[in-house]
């Protein structure tokens, strides 16, 4: 029997998609092993959580009041207490900015190991074995847990969120008193609301050094606008100063997982491939037909990007209207 505790993350009053994805994973584990799913909700905005998470398989929601603002020690303290009370066999956190910050601290507090950013799992004789990418996806590790609870962060957009039977989870509210935050949030600046972060984007248009200048990225932005895509860049383009470091796709940049990835003037270095090879469909535009990117591409166009990209923008407009 494996009970699974899921840390629910919210955006405003709504559970994030990754929360529902984790609950779906947890429900599958619980169903297979005869355990139950418990959701932990620490956000003060989260009202009516039981009704939101119930259909995804949570039978109970532990609402903890008193740590309204996330800080790693506070959340780790609260979760460690919940683990001591609920004694779950498995604890799942989202591999988001918050979850990645928190999970290692929680692991050390619980004196257990951690499998970060899992993208798969299997149950072997009821034992939870997690699959996670290493070398940015050039290889995978399967990780078994020798200490209880098994603790893992779950990569967003990998598992599907599937509601099961109707029904609300029961809610139990408790108050927590935690130590003073060692790191405090002073201010949060909003990102570009119109554009999703590369790691969350469903469509990505990336440019390489062949773009030749920062200004020339405008042709990629025009294509991205038609597609509702986010613009990325290769390391060579970032190093040349054509693109912001936050736009870098690759092993030392962002790992993307969109349904459509369009690589424009990118040769396809191994470290770049590691960051985008799991994209569902890859289109590559490059002058050099021997460029390694074409080995990954579903559709390869051998052409000058300055000719091909504007044509592609027009053609997509035409064919999708």
């Amino acid at each position: 029997m494996s009970d699974v505790l899921v840390l629910a993350e919210f955006k405003g009053a709504e559970p994030k998609k990754v929360t529902l994805e984790m609950l779906t994973v947890a429900r599958e584990i619980a169903a297979d092993t005869g355990g139950k799913v418990i959701a932990a909700a620490l956000s003060q905005d989260a009202v009516g959580v039981g009704e939101q998470v119930g259909p995804y398989g949570a039978s109970k929601v532990c609402r903890v009041n008193g740590v309204s603002q996330y800080h790693p020690q506070g959340y780790a303290e609260v979760l460690a207490k919940l683990v001591a009370e609920e004694k779950p066999d498995i604890v799942l956190l989202p591999a988001t900015a918050m979850g990645k910050d928190l999970a290692p601290r929680l692991a050390a507090k619980l004196d257990v190991g951690l499998a970060s950013d899992i993208v798969g799992f299997r149950l072997e004789g009821g034992e939870f074995i997690a699959k996670r990418p290493v070398f940015a996806g050039k290889a995978f590790n399967e990780v078994a847990f020798l200490a209880k609870p098994a603790l893992a962060t779950v990569r967003p957009n990998v598992f599907s969120a599937v509601p099961g039977e109707d029904g609300a989870a029961t809610e139990e509210a408790t108050d927590a008193a935690v130590g003073e935050a060692l790191t405090k949030l002073v201010e949060k600046t909003a990102g570009d609301e119109g554009q999703l972060d590369l790691t969350e984007a469903d469509r990505v248009v990336s440019g390489g050094r062949s773009l030749k200048s920062k200004e020339n990225f405008a042709i990629l932005r025009e294509l991205a606008e038609v597609l509702g895509a986010t613009v990325g860049a290769s390391r060579a383009a970032v190093d040349a100063g054509y693109a912001d470091p936050s736009m870098q796709v690759g092993q030392t940049g962002k790992v993307v997982n969109p349904s459509l990835y369009i690589a424009c003037g990118i040769s396809g270095a191994i470290q770049h491939q590691a960051g985008m090879r799991t994209s569902k469909t890859i289109v590559a535009i490059n002058k050099d037909k021997k460029a390694p990117i074409f080995q990954l591409a579903d559709f390869g166009i051998v052409a000058d990007l300055f000719e091909a990209v504007p044509l592609l923008t027009q053609e997509i407009k035409k064919q999708t209207q």
């Binding site: 995978f140 002073v186 936050s246 459509l260 191994i270 559709f299």
Partner: protein
């Protein structure tokens, strides 16, 4: 005050990863080992703080097998003042918690106010050692920052979060800060730097020396695999004249076949 920079030795990101015949790990034969690129940002930031007169010494610390000494020598050649290696073969693909426990034990002997390290190592991508170390040493953490300022007894850091948003955080010293791309441009080790590195203090300790008789594993890697190869794609070659046609055909395939538009 002194700054500790944590250094991990990892395969260069241009390395092709091949598995051993028995799938028990990856083949190290053709691997070029380097200092973790994110740790380079950490070393650079520490050196800049020292050069600005805000820190006295920069101490590079690693846990690794013998070959990891090269990563520390890189840090010394960049300009770090001293190095400490917790040397044991156990640290070859060790789990993050074992590394964090060893570093916590080694740091008991080190006088520091600030730890800087990469946001993750580009080999196992766990991004777990810093947070674990913060908890084990009971200090604050500030992860994934692309800008930081060291004040009298605090650090202000700009942390990158989802959706291109940024959080501005303030953390009390002692503190561990993890570096993201964008924090700075790491310098290259100069030739004189490399020569000098050989004469700088370099301390090697074993687990027993730092009071650890054993490090119980909490997780175990039970399998390695490579990603499925991608299906062969379609190539559209030609000249400028037929380019509009080729582009049109690709878009049609994206709509009808791949169904992504």
């Amino acid at each position: 005050m002194n700054i500790v920079v944590l250094c991990k030795q990892v395969p260069d990101t241009e390395s092709k990863i091949k598995l051993l015949d028995d799938q028990s790990g990856f083949a190290e034969a053709d691997i070029k080992w380097v200092l973790n690129p994110y740790d380079e940002f950490a070393v650079e930031e520490a050196l800049k703080l020292r050069e600005a007169g805000k820190a006295e010494k920069v101490i590079a610390v690693a846990a690794g097998p013998k070959r990891a000494e090269d990563a520390l020598i890189t840090a010394l050649a960049m300009g770090a003042d001293e190095a400490v290696l917790v040397e044991d073969d156990l640290f070859n693909w060790a789990e993050a918690y074992q590394v964090a426990q060893a570093l916590a034990a080694a740091l008991k002997e080190v006088d520091f106010q600030l730890i800087i390290c990469g946001k993750q190592a580009v080999d196992d991508d766990s991004a777990a050692v810093p947070g674990m170390l913060a908890e084990l040493t009971n200090i604050g953490q500030m992860t994934v920052v692309s800008k930081m300022e060291l004040n009298d007894d605090t650090v202000t850091g700009w942390r990158d979060v989802e959706g291109g948003a940024q959080e501005v955080l303030e953390g009390k010293l002692p503190l561990i800060v993890t570096a993201n791309r964008g924090l700075n441009e790491p310098r290259y080790a100069s030739l004189p730097g490399i020569m000098k590195a050989k004469r700088k203090p370099f301390k090697r300790v074993g687990l027993a020396d730092i009071g650890l008789s054993s490090l119980e594993p909490k997780t175990k890697v039970v399998g390695w695999s490579l990603p499925e190869p991608r299906a062969e794609g379609k190539m559209f070659e030609g000249n400028s004249d037929d380019l509009p046609q080729r582009v049109s055909e690709v878009v049609k395939l994206l709509v009808d076949e791949a169904k992504v538009l």
